[in-house]
């Protein structure tokens, strides 16, 4: 890749991090948790974005970042108060900055009016504000004091102004800061013809010499055509550490000696310079004799040898790895786990005994494999921060659109979860947050009337709980309006008017397909997507979602997800001569039915009475086509499962073998999609077991139900 292109990529990656830092810093300031370090970090973030943008010529970005930076600088220096209003403007400015970075990245456009409005708002915070666009600042940047152009003119005109007389008197401070008069004089020599004299009269005897003292001064006669500023520029940075005087030479008839200090002609100038410079060990360049060509030659020399930097290896604590390689590694470790299980099985079959050396070695192998598997999974584990940090902006926007005042509090951003899960967390969290703000939090007026602070709080938190990640979205709003929910559910035919529901069941009605409590479907919670879609997308990840609500106090959505999608907690069961795995998340309970609990329904159908409710019985062997006649349910084991599409069902299997973590092997990738089967896995004995798609099995049964059947007769 073109080096500039690759640096640009680095810049954008860095920008993402900087923007995240910026936002979290501003949020900390907003919630009064910030200190001067936070302000500094925020300032640095904008500053770095600007710095890089300048290098690539993203002018709109530079301009805006500059205004932003100036305002932050005022905050940093204490002239601008760190209050809520100011920070709010900055948060919006951070959004604009993010958009501008995005625009620079993909060439999209940003509404210039919006950028301008915010730039104006920022400028208004600091008075007096020059208001001038930054371009002036960056138009002449590279040059600054260093950007002179060497000027060389042959001047024969006797009438031309007389030569410059420059005196250079370095102080010890100049040497202490790494300045080298020889180099300064060399630069002067590059400007034009010079005549350089050394005054070493102040140089003491060697035994009285302070090695860090400064005893030398120079007088330089410079070609008259050289501009004064060019000469002064050479000494710009050394400044008062090396005082200079610069005058025009007196008329030519005046003797030179009258003005210039008596040149110490007897001294070996080069030797003296090297003496003065001995401590710094630098090369004694002879200013008066050194033509401009010499440094050029030195440059050429330098470009000859490009060596590798020596101590670079220790610098980086992280490396970037192609995701495909990690995936491949995970696949291989999966195979290793299976293989290890197969060997274990073989050892058991060979009846070597548990204390045999093979069995003991195998135990160690098993432990190692498990550790390797955990470590590999940890490579893919990432903190949920990357998802969480996108949310403050969403909250601001939704709050703005609904005219509500909402503060987002995030907790447990460091909670780690598999990358594939992270990628799919964003949508459900977005929906839950929108829902919390749109339906949960009241308007400021309503809140004040209810005796609450005008600003609502939405809490987004993540934590690990028993091998799963739990994400909660809690608001302190009005809670679920149960009578209204019930009324809508009845109107929409979700429940029958005489249904007797607990509060919990009413709350969970909002997950029913096509449900929306807002009187008008707002385009915020909406987009035509209801909580049912959220629930389904979470279930597709092997997760669950539930809600708890207290009227007047707020609602809490809790979703729990597996930490990884590569392995699955499954219940291993036997059906006929096949071994199947059912995802544990779908199973509510398992039981052995009493014959009296089973009621036949029609010629083939049957239901199971579980605590007063009737649940359809599905024989898995029949459903998957392994046998024609269902086994008597009382002879098998019932898995009571729950799915969104068809509610609950009782799956009949022959036997339960146990619970196990299994490595998921996609069937679609290797074979094709099979209805009722989600994926496959390889068991310890090397046999392939299918993983049951509970939702699909129940859905298939619901379809059958609509086929013409004789009227149900209870037995």
């Amino acid at each position: 890749m073109d080096p500039m292109e690759s640096i640009k990529q680095t810049y954008f990656v860095e920008c993402d991090e900087l923007l995240a830092d910026l936002e979290s810093g501003l949020l900390a300031l907003e919630s009064d948790e910030g200190d001067s370090d936070t302000i500094n970090a925020v300032f640095r973030a904008v500053h770095s974005v600007k710095g890089g943008a300048g290098a690539f010529g993203f002018e709109a970005l530079v301009e805006f970042a500059h205004v932003f930076e100036s305002t932050l600088d005022a905050m940093r220096s204490g002239t601008l108060a760190v209050d809520n209003d100011n920070v709010k403007i900055m948060l919006r400015a951070a959004d604009v900055l993010a958009d501008l970075v995005q625009a620079a990245k993909d060439g999209s456009s940003v509404d210039p009016a919006r950028t301008q409005t915010l730039a104006d708002e920022l400028s208004a915070l600091i008075t007096p504000q020059d208001g001038a666009p930054v371009t002036g600042d960056d138009g002449e940047p590279a040059a600054d004091s260093w950007g002179f152009t060497p000027l060389k003119l042959d001047i024969d005109e006797p009438a031309a102004p007389s030569r410059w007389i420059l005196t250079v008197t370095p102080t010890p401070a100049a040497y202490a800061k790494g300045h080298d008069p020889a180099i300064l004089l060399r630069e002067v020599a590059r400007l034009g013809d010079v005549e350089c004299w050394l005054d070493a009269s102040a140089l003491p005897d060697l035994n009285a010499l302070d090695p860090e003292g400064s005893y030398l001064r120079w007088t330089v006669f410079i070609d008259s055509a050289v501009e004064e500023t060019a000469i002064r520029d050479v000494f710009d940075f050394v400044g008062e550490d090396c005082p200079i005087t610069l005058d025009r030479e007196a008329p030519a008839d005046q003797p030179l000696e009258d003005i210039a200090p008596p040149p110490a002609a007897d001294f070996d100038v080069a030797a003296l310079i090297s003496l003065a410079q001995a401590q710094s060990g630098s090369d004694p360049a002879m200013p008066s004799d050194e033509p401009a060509a010499a440094p050029k030659a030195a440059d050429h020399e330098e470009s000859g040898g490009g060596r590798e930097p020596s101590k670079q290896a220790a610098a980086g604590a992280t490396i970037r790895v192609d995701l495909e390689r990690v995936d491949r590694l995970i696949d291989l470790v999966g195979e290793l786990v299976i293989n290890q299980a197969m060997i274990a099985q073989r050892v058991v079959e060979s009846e070597l005994g548990r204390s045999s050396s093979v069995a003991i070695g195998l135990d160690e192998l098993e432990q190692l494999t498990r550790e390797i598997q955990d470590s590999v999974m940890a490579i893919r584990a990432q903190p949920v921060k990357s998802v969480f940090q996108r949310m403050p902006r969403l909250v601001r926007e939704v709050a703005g659109m609904t005219n509500k005042s909402v503060r987002l509090v995030t907790e447990g951003e460091g909670t780690e979860v598999d990358k594939t899960v992270i990628e799919r967390l964003s949508d459900p969290i977005t929906h839950m947050l929108r829902n919390a703000i749109d339906h949960g939090v009241e308007t400021p007026d309503e809140r004040v009337a209810a005796g609450k602070p005008a600003e609502g709080v939405v809490r987004l938190s993540a934590s690990h709980r028993s091998g799963r990640i739990v994400i909660e979205v809690a608001d302190d709003g009005k809670g679920i309006n149960r009578p209204r929910v019930r009324e809508i559910a009845i109107n929409k035919g979700v429940i029958s008017p005489d249904a007797n529901l607990t509060d919990d069941e009413i709350d969970n009605l909002i997950f029913a397909p096509g449900f929306s409590t807002a009187s008008t479907v707002s385009n915020i919670s909406g987009r035509g997507v209801g909580m049912d879609v959220v629930k389904r997308s979470i279930q597709a990840l092997g997760g669950r979602i539930s809600i708890a609500s207290v009227p007047g106090r707020g609602s809490t959505f809790t979703m729990s997800l597996p930490l990884t999608l590569a392995v699955l907690d499954g219940m291993v069961v036997t059906v006929g001569d096949q071994t199947l795995v059912s995802p544990l998340t779908a199973i509510v309970e398992t039981l052995r039915p009493k014959p009296t609990d089973i009621r036949l329904l029609g010629p083939k159908g049957a239901v199971l009475a579980v605590r007063g409710a009737h649940v359809p019985l599905i024989d898995i062997g029949v459903a998957l086509g392994w046998r024609d006649e269902p086994i008597p349910p009382a002879n098998g084991v019932i898995l009571l499962v729950e799915s969104e599409v068809g509610g609950r069902a009782a799956l009949v299997v022959d036997q339960i073998q146990g619970q196990r973590q299994v490595v998921i092997k996609s069937l679609e990738q290797n074979f094709q999609h099979v209805d009722g089967v989600a994926a496959a896995t390889i068991l310890g004995d090397g046999r392939v077991a299918l993983i049951l798609d509970v939702d699909a099995v129940i859905a298939a049964r619901s379809r059958d139900r609509f086929e013409p059947q004789p009227l149900a007769q209870a037995s």
């Binding site: 500039m4 690759s6 640096i7 680095t10 810049y11 990656v13 860095e14 500094n40 970090a41 300032f43 640095r44 500053h47 770095s48 600007k50 710095g51 890089g52 300048g54 290098a55 600042d137 960056d138 940047p141 590279a142 040059a143 600054d144 004091s145 260093w146 950007g147 040497y175 202490a176 800061k177 790494g178 300045h179 080298d180 020889a182 180099i183 630069e187 940075f237 050394v238 400044g239 550490d241 401590q279 710094s280 630098s282 090369d283 360049a285 030195a298 440059d299 020399e301 330098e302 470009s303 000859g304 040898g305 490009g306 060596r307 590798e308 930097p309 020596s310 101590k311 670079q312 610098a315």
Partner: protein, 121 residues
């Protein structure tokens, strides 16, 4: 023998850029991520020129320059400040701390190399 340059900058992009520019110009490049790291790197290397940013976490450029000047091995090593800012007050502060020169970001490759040439013998 080619010169060794130490660059101290917290921005990864800026480090990469400096590395590209300086390597192309034929310098050896040693890099550090902030002032504290810069001083650590300095304890094991002898750069001919140091280029440092000002706004950095942990230890900023001023602190770093002072640190370098307090180390007798590096008190005469030229230090160039590379910063987006150009106001005289900050320049003066850098000078007080012991900086040798100042380059404004964004920089052109030639002007950076030129500046290095100007401060190093």
């Amino acid at each position: 023998m080619s010169k060794t340059i130490l660059t101290v900058d917290d921005s990864r992009m800026m480090r990469e850029m400096l590395l590209t520019v300086l390597r192309t110009a034929g310098f050896n490049v040693v890099q550090a991520e902030d002032g504290v790291h810069g001083l650590e790197v300095l304890s094991q290397s002898e750069p001919d020129v140091i280029i440092t940013d000002i706004n950095m976490p942990r230890m900023d450029g001023y602190g770093f320059i002072e640190g370098v000047r307090n180390d007798s091995r590096h008190r005469a090593t030229p230090i160039l400040v590379l910063s987006t800012e150009s106001d005289p007050e900050k320049k003066n502060r850098a000078r007080q701390a012991g900086a040798t020169g100042w380059i404004v970001k964004p920089f052109k490759a030639e002007s950076l190399v030129e500046a290095i040439r100007r401060v190093s013998a």
